[in-house]
């Protein structure tokens, strides 16, 4: 923060001249890199397909409309499966995530040296692999079907839920815990009275949030054979039955909208 003395007045500038120059060169460098990258991408693009895109898109649109409405009779069961995959997966994930979160939170972990890193490893490893990849693996292990989907969703969600939950546990008000400890309460009583009431709103929020995400994720699990409406989607795509595809997309859209509405209502009720 330089201040220049001039004519008895103190002139204030945000940056010194040197700092301004450095920033100016930074911007210049950024623009140069952008232009260079643009060129690279342009060279490796087959522009013929890009120019052709509007025509193809229009072609698919005319084939896909109107949706094949009577196909809906065959979609009831798959969308129900999809909802079940999401819901069961979320419930299983929450059951696993709660202990992991308590083991991972700095203020509740029994051992910061050994157990906490293991819990963090569980969180990172389950979070970093997409549920589609989990589903592929699980289909190889337990065979195709809804069950593989449920487990894939559950595993993928453990890390997500546990991470958010352990952050909530670390942010609790410590004096409430102290007060409960001071009454002579046991370790479990301190948890039930000092910690759980404080993280309950966060827990409920995380649960509906993850459920909402899982409904969206479980719609694509069928693409790899893990049950649900994705199965119908991939089948329709394979035979180029565009009117069916468009109807499936509409059904997915409606399901996601309903789930978002429900989770917004639940979160509103808690907070």
């Amino acid at each position: 923060m330089p201040i220049l003395e001039r004519d008895d007045a103190q002139i204030w500038r945000r940056r010194t001249t040197g700092q301004s120059l450095v920033r100016w060169f930074g911007w210049l460098l950024g623009v140069a890199i952008f232009v260079y990258c643009w060129q690279l991408i342009s060279e490796s693009t087959t522009w013929f397909f890009v120019w052709d895109a509007p025509r193809i898109a229009n072609d698919i649109w005319t084939r896909a409309t109107p949706p094949k409405w009577d196909y809906i009779t065959q979609l009831g069961r798959p969308i129900w499966d999809t909802l079940n995959i999401a819901t069961l997966g979320t419930i299983i994930a929450l059951c696993m995530a709660v202990p992991v979160a308590f083991l991972a939170a700095r203020n509740t972990t029994p051992s910061a040296l050994f157990i906490r890193p293991i819990a963090l490893l569980v969180i990172v490893s389950t979070r970093s692999i997409n549920s589609l990849i989990w589903a592929l693996l699980l289909i190889a292990i337990i065979g195709p079907g809804v069950f593989a989907g449920v487990i894939a969703i559950a595993i993928r969600s453990i890390g997500f839920c546990a991470k958010l939950l352990y952050e909530a546990i670390e942010e609790i008000d410590h004096t409430q815990v102290e007060a409960i400890t001071a009454t002579g309460a046991s370790r479990w009583q301190v948890m039930a009275y000092g910690i759980v009431p404080q993280i309950l709103p966060a827990f409920a929020g995380i649960a509906v949030f993850r459920w909402d995400i899982n409904i969206r994720e479980s719609t694509v699990l069928g693409l790899v054979g893990a049950g649900g409406i994705g199965l119908q989607l991939s089948a329709s795509l394979n035979v180029l039955a565009w009117p069916q595809v468009s109807l499936i997309l509409i059904v997915i859209l409606v399901a996601v909208m309903i789930s978002e509405w429900v989770s917004a209502k639940v979160r509103g009720a808690i907070i």
């Binding site: 008000d173 004096t175 409430q176 102290e178 007060a179 409960i180 400890t181 001071a182 009454t183 002579g184 309460a185 046991s186 479990w188 009583q189 039930a192 009275y193 000092g194 009431p197 404080q198 309950l200 709103p201």
Partner: protein
């Protein structure tokens, strides 16, 4: 009844919060612990019920050395010591009644407390205490709906339902307005008298301490520099505890306050 012997606490950072404190609190005596911020007041009362582990020295409650107890025995000993906190430390999302009953956690098993099936005698006592502090009609309210003074009353009930011998009180009035502060201090000292409880009250409002307690202990840099009657707190003594300042106003204010109090 409570005896601190060469109680020392050195934090990991190397700060010596308490330097070999010797203090004896007889049964039924209420004493105020005054001193500047960072003098070790909070550390001292937390060392008594071992919310903070003392580094060395002894804490004898009825000739039992609390510093040597295992975790089970420590929990039993903590039931004998009620604690009241500066920011009330109520469990915000539980009801007033649940907060009061949580004072019985050391006496009931996990499942009874988890399912809120407290013995009828505990429930009766909770209602009696809430009535005593004038909050019976609030029993079903959530703790975060209460005002500061009301919350501190609930905190007092929670400490008393433990049926303690000793109250550890950490800055009970620091977040309250002057009028509520006095009401809370009066309530605490009255209840101690009714039940013959000893109490250590951390407080940084010297005038308030002088008004309500028969014995004042001054702490500075983890050492006791004053122990005596509240009337013995001369400007020289206050300078020794807190450092140089014009103390006449503080001490005079006590008398004025008493007049106001009497006029009310």
């Amino acid at each position: 009844m409570l005896r601190l012997q060469k109680l020392t606490k050195t934090y990991k950072t190397g700060d010596q919060a308490l330097k070999a404190i010797d203090l004896e609190v007889p049964k039924g005596q209420v004493l105020a612990l005054i001193g500047p911020s960072g003098a070790g007041k909070s550390t001292m009362i937390r060392c008594v019920n071992r919310l903070v582990e003392p580094t060395s020295g002894g804490v004898l409650l009825d000739d039992v050395d609390l510093t040597k107890l295992g975790s089970g025995a420590l929990r039993k000993a903590r039931r004998e010591m009620g604690m009241i906190f500066q920011e009330y430390a109520l469990v915000e999302r539980l009801t007033v009644m649940e907060n009061v009953l949580s004072g019985r956690l050391g006496y009931v098993g996990f499942w009874r407390s988890f399912l809120r099936r407290y013995p009828q005698s505990d429930v009766d006592e909770a209602f009696r205490l809430l009535d005593r502090v004038g909050l019976l009609h609030m029993a079903d309210k959530r703790a975060d709906e209460l005002s500061g003074g009301q919350r501190q009353r609930v905190g007092i009930c929670r400490a008393l339902i433990q049926n303690p011998k000793l109250l550890l009180v950490d800055e009970p009035t620091a977040s309250l307005d002057p009028k509520t502060s006095r009401q809370i201090m009066r309530l605490i000292t009255e209840l101690c008298q009714e039940r013959g409880l000893a109490a250590i009250i951390n407080i940084h409002d010297v005038a308030l301490a002088q008004m309500f307690v028969p014995r004042v202990v001054g702490l500075r840099f983890g050492e006791i520099v004053y122990d005596g009657l509240p009337t013995g707190l001369t400007p020289e003594k206050l300078t020794e505890i807190y450092g140089e300042e014009d103390w006449e106003a503080t001490i005079e204010k006590v008398d004025e306050d008493d007049d106001v109090e009497a006029a009310e």
